[in-house]
Symmetry: C2
Subunit: 314 residues, 2 copies
């Protein structure tokens, strides 16, 4: 099942169920995705029972499937990304066996086609292609095994980042505020079964195809996460209850063979250039630049739909 | 004006206006504090016009004035606190001229008398007495000067912390997730004018009296913040719009003469012991322990009311 949210002038939009062919939709009997997640056990069968899709889907009218969330916890579960980021930010490798995670701004997730405003190109504007999950209420102390059952939806995310601010904030130990403005989500939040065999061990084992200004930039696969999403959820829930609708991210999708498959963010490419050439050659984004991201299954279907955004002067 | 929230079974509770003597209240014409903050310019005069307080206030029935918020950004604006924390966490002093700030969990703020559940005493359970402000919508790029006008309410906060987890998380650079479970708020959110001359330069210039298990523990003053709240708000808004109802915290209230006035958290006392005695002697909290916090004005009035909480096994 694939869910989406139509803009209707309200802050949370209007929840819809998308037809299997992705062309039509039915309004959900529950108004918002947040409300659905708060009563998922009762609501899911009602959504699944919808078999008639009377309305035509206008992709450009879609908001983020969850236009705002009470909590967004982003991991950094791909080791090759972490290694390159330490290289490019000029910091020592992070020595830890626990998942890396920070809490980011969640009162707004951009829709998949929304322009993104930033005050200054000099801030080092970068995209980050990620996968994420949305949970129902997870009690404090839930184990990773039990956390798997709380993963109700899988999403695709563009975690906008401002690299010139990232290193200094990280060095304080406090994590990122200025370097991490709101993210965007691809149009469809999908139940794990929608991924078929590509949902394995709490990982989205799909290629994430990223294009920057129309040119292929990366096609890393989501499989090699050092910790699965169920482990990230359990990590987050160790000392707090997770409210229904909490979004947990994978961090930038990255593979060890990054020279072959490319990257899901510009900073990684710059890290590779530092290693290979002694200095970074690729600039960050300029106003007017576009980024496109889609996760493709074996049939070439964009399971989560497409993120296609432009950076503009704010 | 002092505002509070009565529990009514809903997630956001029921907004009330408290009488000047703190003994009675009137239901607000807007149901929730979040809704009031989203239309503050229209709502504030209506709240101020309420002069009849028909109902008796039961302090123990009060929730946090804002039971949940879309965003909680906590600073660390007291230099003496930062210095002691580096000492006790075994990390190098943080070299930065920008405000220190992390984003914490905000889908729940404990009420002032709520028990607080933790899974294990070994996590290093600690309180942190703070002040905070609540803003209306702050556009990205707002200057510190303009930010002052967006500070609509001032609050008093207990930022619960788990110290055994804090150092390792901080060393990753990602900030705190596990070390920072939900905070509590004192019962009254007050307009800045309610503080009179004690609201100066974006600072709450009041003593914060902290008692641990009935014994005086600290009485530091809120004046010596290295950055005022207006500067913290501007810092937070540099690259994001702040949604109405965003809460910004001062970090633990701390004074340079900590040996005279005491501390607002146990970790600081332990830091002083490390300096003076070579090792920390004071243990963190045990299940059953209580902490009480109130900010006293020149007349000995607890402006924000009292936080009085007990730690229990979760």
């Amino acid at each position: 099942m694939r869910l989406a949210t139509v803009r209707d002038g309200s802050k949370d939009g209007r929840l819809i169920v998308v037809s299997p062919d992705g062309l039509r939709f039915a309004p959900a009997p529950v108004n918002t995705l947040q409300a659905a997640l708060e009563q998922w056990v009762e609501v899911e069968p009602v959504l699944l029972a919808l078999k008639v899709f009377p309305e035509q889907l206008e992709l450009h009218s879609l908001a983020s499937p969850l236009p705002r969330a009470w909590q967004w916890l982003d991991g950094s579960a791909f080791q090759s990304h972490g290694d390159l980021m330490c290289q490019v930010l000029g910091i020592d490798p992070i020595e830890t066996t626990i998942p890396l995670m920070y809490q980011g701004v969640s009162d707004k997730f951009y829709g998949p086609h929304d322009d993104v405003k930033f005050p200054d190109e000099a801030l080092g504007i970068d995209f980050e292609g990620e996968f994420g999950v949305i949970v129902d209420a997870v009690p404090m102390g839930t184990t990773a095994k039990d956390a798997m059952q709380h993963i109700k939806l899988v999403v695709q995310i563009n975690d906008w980042s401002l690299r010139a601010l990232a290193g200094p904030e990280m060095k304080t130990g406090f994590g990122w505020v200025q370097a991490k403005p709101p993210c965007a989500m691809a149009p469809f939040a999908v139940t794990p079964d929608e991924l078929g065999e590509s949902w394995r061990n709490g990982r989205v084992c799909l290629d994430l195809a990223v294009e920057w200004n129309g040119a292929p930039f990366g096609r890393a696969n989501g499989e090699p996460m050092g910790h699965g999403f169920h482990e990230l959820v359990a990590h987050a829930a160790r000392t707090r209850d997770l409210v229904a609708g909490t979004v947990v991210g994978s961090g930038t999708v990255s593979n060890e063979n990054f020279r072959e498959v490319g990257s899901s963010c510009i900073a990684e490419r710059r890290g590779i250039e530092v290693i290979d050439l002694g200095e970074a050659k690729t600039n960050f984004m300029a106003f007017g630049d576009k980024v496109r991201m889609e996760a493709l299954d074996a049939d070439g279907r964009a399971v989560f739909g497409v993120i296609d955004q432009q950076v503009v002067r704010g």
